[in-house]
């Protein structure tokens, strides 16, 4: 980061104290309970998270008919899975999946804010929320992907999806080569949030 902006010397200590002050006042005033924030955070560890998306992608890799249904009607296919309740809940009311193939690469961005499919992917990582990524991804996607370590051949078509309304997007990455004998569980372990947003490929870890 540049030194263009100045910050208070106790930047993080101050925010730590301020958020605790806010939470304590909200509890005292009867707006939330003492457990509210912890329960929300727990929910994002157990119910909404990229572990759901990874299972969904692995299923699509092993079952071509499921994959076709997922691409045609994403919420209906998600409802077939054995997920916790709520997969059409907050920030998952409307979802669409696009498929990466040898010919086409998809990249998801939200230039106006940071829209992200919560039930399937949980919360967005910092790179996705970065104004610089959001500014550049729609104009020079190949250059951005290259900086993220993904160099695409000129012959591969790039599709950038700007999530500007209520539909939440994610990517069905290509199944990596050499995974023919892997179980669905093993396959799911190869699927990262970055692969499901189109800034990386699913890979067999070295």
């Amino acid at each position: 980061m540049s030194e263009r902006f100045s910050y208070r010397a106790d930047r993080e200590a101050y925010s730590t104290a301020k958020i605790k002050a806010l939470e304590s006042l909200l509890i005292e005033k009867g707006i939330i309970s003492s457990e509210t924030v912890d329960k929300v955070l727990k929910f994002f560890e157990t119910d909404f998270g990229p572990f759901n998306g990874a299972k969904l992608i692995a299923r699509a890799w092993v079952d071509p008919e499921f994959k076709a249904r997922l691409l045609a009607n994403t919420p209906a296919a998600i409802a077939e899975m054995d997920f916790p309740p709520g997969m059409a809940g907050a920030e998952g009311e409307y979802m669409e999946v696009v498929e990466n193939t040898p010919e086409v690469h998809n990249l998801i961005v939200c230039t106006l804010c940071s829209c992200y499919p919560w039930p399937m992917l949980g919360l967005p990582p910092y790179w996705y929320k970065d104004p610089t990524f959001r500014a550049r991804a729609v104009k020079e996607p190949r250059k951005v992907l290259k900086e993220f370590g993904l160099e695409l051949d000129e012959s591969k078509e790039v599709r950038v999806w700007d999530s500007s309304a209520q539909i939440r997007w994610f990517v069905l990455p290509e199944r990596p080569a050499g995974t023919e004998n892997m179980s669905e569980t093993e396959l799911a372990a190869l699927v990262t949030p970055e692969a499901m947003m189109g800034v990386a490929q699913a890979k067999v870890s070295a």
Binding site: G86, T111, Q166
Partner: protein, 248 residues
């Protein structure tokens, strides 16, 4: 005109190469402001009047305001652009959300400052202990059922797949869902989404609020960036019907 509405395509920003930070939270305190935001969303009074008719009136919270994504976004869009770049993602949330509680009269700046001073002095001082499971259950119920935007309407979409459209240059004030870089550009309808989407608030002359159809619109980047566009690529955006008109 707000810079935050025109972020897509903005040049000359710092951090090349990009910062590929994969963490969701980079400081422990950030988790708390996220949790408070979700709580406000789940306790937002407008949820009583949505098709799911959440029982907000009977939830024992003193929160009597409406708080949706639109409110959080309005706050971020209202920021001085220099501050928008200066502050980290959840620093913006902390500023916006604490400002909202003061503006709505739940807390005062003096109370917040005084309490902050206490926790700066004694970081390990405990939070007050008040148990109220009904509040927490409502928030989890909201997470599981969401706030569906689709409403029944008795008219058909104006545009159909393959049709050439032009993006309007509507007057956006405090909030919009029209990315600035697409204004006045031509594209084609890729998909007509089923159902009409209400928005979380009226955006005034910008045009959102009442249910309307939404389209996936495909743009040739050459029509947006000219010779600067990268080859063999396309840009798609989801545009509300009020933002598009038939191409001339």
């Amino acid at each position: 005109m707000k810079l935050q509405h025109y972020l897509g395509g903005l040049e000359g920003l710092d951090s090349e190469p990009l910062n590929f930070e994969k963490q969701i939270f980079v400081e422990p305190w950030e988790t708390r402001i996220f949790g408070i935001h979700v709580a406000m969303m789940g306790l937002s009074q407008h949820l009583s009047d949505t098709p799911l008719q959440y029982p907000l009136k009977s939830i024992p919270t003193t929160f009597k305001s409406t708080w949706t994504w639109a409110d959080l976004r309005k706050g971020a869009e209202a920021m001085n652009p220099f501050d928008y770049f200066r502050f980290r993602y959840y620093e913006k949330w902390l500023g916006g959300i604490s400002g909202f509680f003061m503006q709505e009269g739940y807390i005062t700046e003096e109370q917040l400052d005084a309490r902050t001073a206490v926790y700066l002095e004694k970081p390990d001082a405990p939070l007050p202990s008040v148990s109220e499971p009904t509040i927490d259950e409502q928030i989890v119920d909201y997470l599981r059922r969401g706030d569906p935007a689709i409403r029944e309407v008795d008219y058909q979409p104006k545009f159909s797949v393959g049709q050439k459209i032009e993006v309007k240059d509507v007057l956006s004030t405090d909030h919009t869902r029209l990315p600035g870089y697409l204004r006045n550009r031509t594209g084609s309808i890729e998909k007509v989404y089923e159902g009409a989407y209400a928005y979380l608030c009226s955006t005034g002359p910008d045009g959102l609020g009442e249910p309307m159809y939404v389209y996936s619109v495909k743009f040739d980047p050459k029509n947006i960036w000219g010779d600067m566009a990268e080859g063999n690529s396309w840009v798609y955006a989801d545009l509300f019907e009020v933002y598009v008109e038939a191409a001339k």
